[in-house]
Symmetry: C2
Subunit: 373 residues, 2 copies
Amino acid sequence: MQEECAEETAKKQFYTLEGEVVLENGQRLPGVTVAYETWGTLNADKSNAILICHALTGDSHAVGGNGTPGWWDTMVGPGRGIDTDRYFVICSNILGGCMGTTGPASINPVTGKPYGTDFPVVTIHDMVQVQAALVDSLGIDRLHAVIGGSVGGMQVLSWCKNYPERVGSAVALATTMRHSALSIAFNEVARQSIISDPNWNEGHYYGGAKPSMGLSVARMVGHITYLSDEAMRQKFGRRLQHRDEFAFDFDAEFQVESYLHYQGAKFVDRFDANSLLYITKAADYFDIEPGFQESGALERMAELRHPFLVVSFTSDWLYPTYQNREIVSLFKRHGVDVSFCEIEASCGHDAFLLPSDRLTTILTGFLGKGTHA
Amino acid sequence: MQEECAEETAKKQFYTLEGEVVLENGQRLPGVTVAYETWGTLNADKSNAILICHALTGDSHAVGGNGTPGWWDTMVGPGRGIDTDRYFVICSNILGGCMGTTGPASINPVTGKPYGTDFPVVTIHDMVQVQAALVDSLGIDRLHAVIGGSVGGMQVLSWCKNYPERVGSAVALATTMRHSALSIAFNEVARQSIISDPNWNEGHYYGGAKPSMGLSVARMVGHITYLSDEAMRQKFGRRLQHRDEFAFDFDAEFQVESYLHYQGAKFVDRFDANSLLYITKAADYFDIEPGFQESGALERMAELRHPFLVVSFTSDWLYPTYQNREIVSLFKRHGVDVSFCEIEASCGHDAFLLPSDRLTTILTGFLGKGTHA
């Protein structure tokens, strides 16, 4: 019954902001639409809402429904770590994305054609600004919690900086407060792979052939950074896909090659190349420490006693534990109630999306702490 | 005087093998030419020769001369770690390369045109077979030492397996005895980047436009794996190249992006895309342990008391210390006189090519041990 109910409420909805969004780069974006989904029921005093922020290439479909699985089914749902019997859970597609929220594939009202690279370069701050407008539209003043991993964790930090009063508690998983040179380097390789594809056509490829080859290679690079040396050894080792002997040609023959090809091909079907450019750029620009220090938001969080939780994973080399610890140190220096946990996991950065009893226990406990739900 | 003398002998020479080379995949390759350079003087009993094996994209020019620096000037030369006043040093370009030795850009005698991807897929074993023929041609029966890092280290291991009597001693730096899934994954991304470039044209692009965009992105990926998180933080951090503020566009603006673009562009000028396909494939195929165990070569090395040295670097995540230690364990299990040293270095895999007093001291000491020079 509860499952059906969850499915019932999981249909994608759309909210269009009034007026223009003033972006961090000074440009103005009119008619921004946000695609979102909700699960559970908002209580009478609207105090049980949890906002989930998705990562780089995620979408609003955090929980399965309408015949498709959700990207965080292991954590969100009735009776799960983020319990939709108890909380009203919201997840929206980020600005610049391609899963229903306004992005480079959307129609530019000035030209009547897709923006392409005429779409303004957006930041994590801009994404969060749009999320806040959505939360407003739902009549929710203060969120019980804002939760996200990876690029979603950056959004969590941006929420705390911009709206410390509105964030009752927050959880950042496998993330960083400033994108490192290594992470920028991987993102730039992904972008250059797309830009080098002749079909990219300076970003104006809609209606024609897509830069699928470049996007596929970009995704392959991404997938390497989501795993770990150990995970790859366990998962693939040096096993061949179909044969016992080497083929002595350039087709994919190791299982790890086939895996990457499959991930690349699958991604091309579901994701827009320009969106990957924009979202990786937003991540690269992310460096919240200076703004956080100046904003007074940390002091405000400390004053309000809004708790914060940081979780890292041992084999995550994209946003390693030391980068997660930097967030903890910053928060501690300003007296914020911050907890930290490093979870033993061999599967690399992806660990935050995979089933983990430890993470479930930690999240359940944290969300129940001083709950208003 | 010595410097001049070293320059004098550093001119690139060529040796063409008689007959055909029978490759590991069973194919036969006629008219193989090897480009090589030598420094120092071969002594009367021909017991002071050292063979240096270059890495992925290196060449025979290990020591500077003829107006260009060498890729291992910090280690090889008069009075240096590998002392050309004392040893006769040989370095040849590997089979499948593009720096003078026969490779995919060479003329296929059957068609009178460049091989392209009609060139047979070669292995590390094949490269070493060709080096052994070159060493024969110089009248050298036993090498005082064979030394190489990374893919060069794989060649060192292959020398030991195939010619244990001929390898008086050997040094493998920053390498592995079997290419890991992670390393295969990075190589496959590099290959797919090249193959996705429409100019690649199934490998038959000679005389036309080159797959420069794809090759450039491939090189960018490579360079990330040669550095380390720490090295990138120290070297680039989040510094911008030209401005104080973000440009909000997709041009390279972080210093790390400019660095990668520069490395990509520079590489396209000097290296052939097909050679990168072939050499990365040879590395991926490399898994010497089973053959080593079966060959009896380890027992022979132990019997002859030919010493072996393995050196790893703490921040090398392409061929991490644990992979270098696996070589040591294998050799120890078979009674080979093997020494191991892990050098503290923050600069990643590239450390083996960078100036290091520690490495120089270790190498000098090792080469002097039971020397015949």
